[in-house]
């Protein structure tokens, strides 16, 4: 059992309970303003609604007036926050203090990118927030007001709703969730520095939970202790998680059935136009030039005709299924089920749901939770001699493993 588990099973979580003044978004922005004023943070990375439009975008700001247009929990996820943060810190550490307020899946993506050396976390304060999910981006763009209104209803009821993106409906990591993973080391470095909870608060209060020394530093600036018992929040999160895990199980089973085998998988991806937009918005797909966009797959007309003749026809652009399988094998272990891929698909292929299911199951077999522990190595980077010997041919070490078990 690692340290995070001990912490969880032992006692009730503690933090600071804050009364909401009017609107929880306003309360959160007030805290950020204070952190900027006092100089603990030099800038905040947060979604902001562009003036005179319905569009949300990530804005790195130090102008407090700009914070007024910010939304700590917008109805949609535009650019994945992990990706946004990578954009700033990919080429070196920032020398000023940034507070990045993101959804839990964005924080987890940021941690995966940190492990993949695409993000520096020096001077970055990751602040996560309880997430009820997000609305489908394309739906929001078509009917912004109506979609935003529906979302507010979902937040107030704090329950899952079928209007949310499908992957959000089955997201089991919607809050500060502590999970055991494969790491045998005692070291656990939490993903977020500070978590903002509002589940179980009935709209009347929110809570702040510092997770790291950076988080504690923010609390100190705010002149807040973190001794309040967070029983209500914890119960709300636990109940919700229980409910979602059930849904998750049937979701995984359904999709497994739907896409099992090459034929079913191909059918599920039928309308894919091979535009690779899923890859370009994926926070984990960070390669500057994807293999599948390179000239490596380029062939001569003679070869294409030869391939066509084998089956009587060859689809163009070629090999969309190979692209998805290739991408999947590269990133599924780090897939944070954020659904950015599905939001960005011009053909509404359920690519987020498919990758989420495959990611979930692959991660389970490695006992790995992406973005859970900053200190935990990526499974593909750690070699264990006795791992997965059941897939080796011939299976010589089976005896040893079962003997151990």
């Amino acid at each position: 059992m690692n340290s995070s588990d001990k912490g969880k099973k032992g006692e009730t979580a503690s933090g600071k309970i804050l009364p909401v003044e009017g609107d929880f978004r306003k309360t959160i922005k007030g805290l950020l303003k204070k952190l900027l004023e006092k100089g603990t943070l030099d800038a905040v990375l947060i979604p902001v609604k562009a003036p005179e439009t319905d569009a949300f975008a990530w804005v790195l700001l130090n102008d407090e007036a700009l914070l007024d247009a910010a939304d700590p929990l917008p109805p949609v996820m535009t650019v994945q926050g992990g990706r946004a943060l990578s954009n700033i810190t990919k080429h070196g550490e920032v020398t000023f203090n940034i507070g990045a307020l993101m959804r839990p899946c964005e924080i987890r993506a940021a941690v995966e990118l940190y492990k993949l050396k695409q993000i520096r976390l020096d001077n970055i304060h990751l602040i996560s927030i309880d997430c009820p999910g997000a609305m489908p981006l394309q739906e929001y763009m078509k009917e912004p007001e109506k979609t935003a209104k529906t979302y507010e209803g979902i937040i107030k009821k704090e329950e899952k709703n079928e209007a949310l993106r499908p992957v959000c409906q089955v997201c089991q990591r919607f809050s500060l969730i502590k999970e055991t993973s494969s790491s045998e080391s005692e070291q656990h470095q939490p993903s977020a520095d500070l978590h903002i909870g509002f589940f179980g608060g009935g709209g009347k209060n929110i809570c702040l939970i510092p997770e790291t020394s950076k988080g504690k530093e923010l609390m100190e600036t705010l002149e807040m202790s973190s001794d309040d018992s967070l029983k209500d929040w914890e119960t709300a999160v636990e109940n919700k998680r229980k409910d979602v895990l059930k849904k998750r199980e049937s979701f995984d089973n359904d999709w497994r059935e739907k896409i099992g085998g090459l034929d079913n998988f191909t059918t599920a991806l039928d309308t894919c136009i091979n535009c690779h937009n899923c890859m370009r918005v994926c926070p984990v797909c960070y390669c500057q030039q994807c293999y599948f966009d390179s000239t490596m797959l380029q062939n001569t007309p003679e070869t294409y005709l030869g391939r066509a003749k084998e089956k009587g026809a060859l689809r163009f652009p070629i090999d969309p299924v190979l692209f998805h399988l290739g991408r999947m094998s590269h990133m599924a272990l780090s897939c944070v089920s954020c659904g950015a891929c599905e939001d960005a698909c011009p053909m509404s292929v359920p690519v987020g749901q498919i990758f989420s299911m495959v990611g979930d199951r692959t991660q389970q077999s490695f006992n790995y939770v992406p973005g859970n522990n900053r200190a935990e190595a990526l499974p593909l980077q750690s070699f264990m001699e006795d791992e997965f010997c059941e897939v080796e041919i011939p299976c010589e070490c089976e005896q040893t493993v079962s003997g151990k078990a």
């Binding site: 990375l45 562009a50 005179e52 319905d54 569009a55 949300f56 975008a57 990530w58 804005v59 790195l60 700001l61 130090n62 102008d63 700009l66 535009t78 650019v79 990706r83 946004a84 954009n87 700033i88 810190t89 990919k90 080429h91 920032v94 020398t95 981006l137 394309q138 763009m141 078509k142 059918t267 039928d270 309308t271 136009i273 091979n274 535009c275 690779h276 937009n277 370009r280 918005v281 500057q288 030039q289 966009d293 390179s294 001569t300 007309p301 003679e302 005709l305 066509a308 003749k309 089956k311 009587g312 026809a313 060859l314 689809r315 163009f316 652009p317 070629i318 960005a344 011009p346 053909m347």
Partner: protein, 370 residues
């Protein structure tokens, strides 16, 4: 009057019979055309090499899942095809292919280009909601009457270039009242005539352009002018463009779908457009707030400066945009203006060089230094 072939079947069946003739008689080794994916109306481009698979072809399906000019370029990028193939494509896809050939991204050699007078295509999203099939018959009726079909792409509704000028073979659709009964295939070039020789059907004379196509041209022109009224100079200034592109994710799907954007690695996806953290710091000091990722509008302006002179107005960019930005409206408006300045008609003449490839010392003195 041009030579033509008349087949006494409805236009789609007639065309399929003609394609089957090409394949069966070894005139071509394969045919690029749209093929059914399933029964919901979803289609894909496919290189078909046998007649059994050809039965699933829907060459006249009003969809453009990818610009076929890009497909033909991909096919012939490494080298020209030694064996003849035919390709059935929409006029704007043909123009895109011509532009790509001029940019040394493909070869027309041994490709029989078949196109139609085009009634426009549906937005791709129609493939997903499963109601493409019920739109088909009102679409066909509207094409027969040379009218604008309101459920086609916005770009198509304002497209005046629906006559495929460089096609070897043109299937007549717009304003043809009898497409349910007959298929008229115009043989525009010697190449077209050669491939069609001995094809079943009656030799007749026909014209691609008619009073009916003129009628549609003027309707489309009117539609386009009306659309462009929304994009006057005030709206296309930096602040206007910032608003139009406010929701841009920087995903570059538009560039990826664009047939003219052929670079393997776009400059805007390269290291050139990545910044060190210090630059964020200094920009932040200057502005108080920065959109992240930065440069989403810069990307569109850069892409525009690279490709607008060759923009063939296919509308792929708008169709793939996940946040519904009317990319093609802006790009077509800029493309039209730029093409006017250079008196350049993209995709109309394979011999005419792309303006960017030509240097004239005495050109545009009015914008230079006095």
């Amino acid at each position: 009057m041009a030579k033509a072939l008349k087949i006494n079947k409805n236009t789609e069946e007639g065309l399929l019979q003609f394609l089957e003739f090409l394949l069966e008689n070894g005139k071509v080794e394969g045919i690029f055309t749209l093929k059914k994916l399933n029964e919901t109306g979803a289609v894909t481009y496919s290189l078909i090499t046998n007649t059994e698979e050809l039965k699933k072809a829907v060459p006249l399906s009003p969809f453009m899942p990818v610009n076929a000019g890009k497909v033909l370029s991909y096919f012939t990028l490494a080298e020209k095809t030694e064996r003849p193939v035919a390709a059935v494509l929409h006029p704007c896809e043909l123009r895109a292919f011509i532009e790509l050939v001029k940019r040394v991204q493909g070869s027309m050699d041994n490709i029989l280009l078949i196109s139609t007078t085009c009634g426009g295509v549906f937005p791709m999203a129609f493939m997903n909601n499963g109601n493409a099939a019920e739109q088909l018959s009102p679409y066909k009726e509207s094409v027969k009457k040379a009218e604008i079909f309101e459920n086609t792409r916005e770009t198509c509704q304002g497209c005046e270039n629906f006559i495929p000028h460089l096609a070897d073979i043109t299937v007549l659709m717009v304003g043809k009242k009898d497409t349910d009964k007959e298929c008229v295939i115009c043989l525009n070039s010697a190449k077209g005539e050669k491939f069609a020789s001995e094809a079943p059907g009656n030799a007749v004379s026909a014209e691609v352009e008619s009073a009916e196509t003129e009628k549609l041209t003027s309707k489309r022109k009117e539609h386009k002018e009306k659309l462009f009224e929304n994009y006057d100079k005030n709206r296309l200034g930096i602040s206007g463009l910032s608003k139009i592109f406010a929701a841009c994710l920087g995903c570059h799907a538009c560039g990826e779908a664009c047939p003219i954007c052929h670079c393997t690695l776009c400059d805007f996806d390269s290291k050139t457009c990545e910044y060190r953290p210090e630059s964020f710091d200094s920009e932040l000091e200057r502005k108080g707030g920065l959109k992240i990722p930065p440069g989403t509008l810069f990307y569109h302006l850069g892409r525009m400066s690279h490709m607008a002179v060759s923009c063939i107005a296919c509308g792929m960019c708008s169709d793939v945009c996940p946040v519904d930005i009317p990319v093609s409206d802006v790009f077509i408006k800029a493309g039209d203006a730029l093409q006017d300045v250079f008196q350049y008609d993209p995709g109309k003449d394979v011999e005419e060089p792309v303006p960017w490839g030509v240097f004239k010392e005495e050109e545009f003195k009015e914008v230079g230094e006095k």
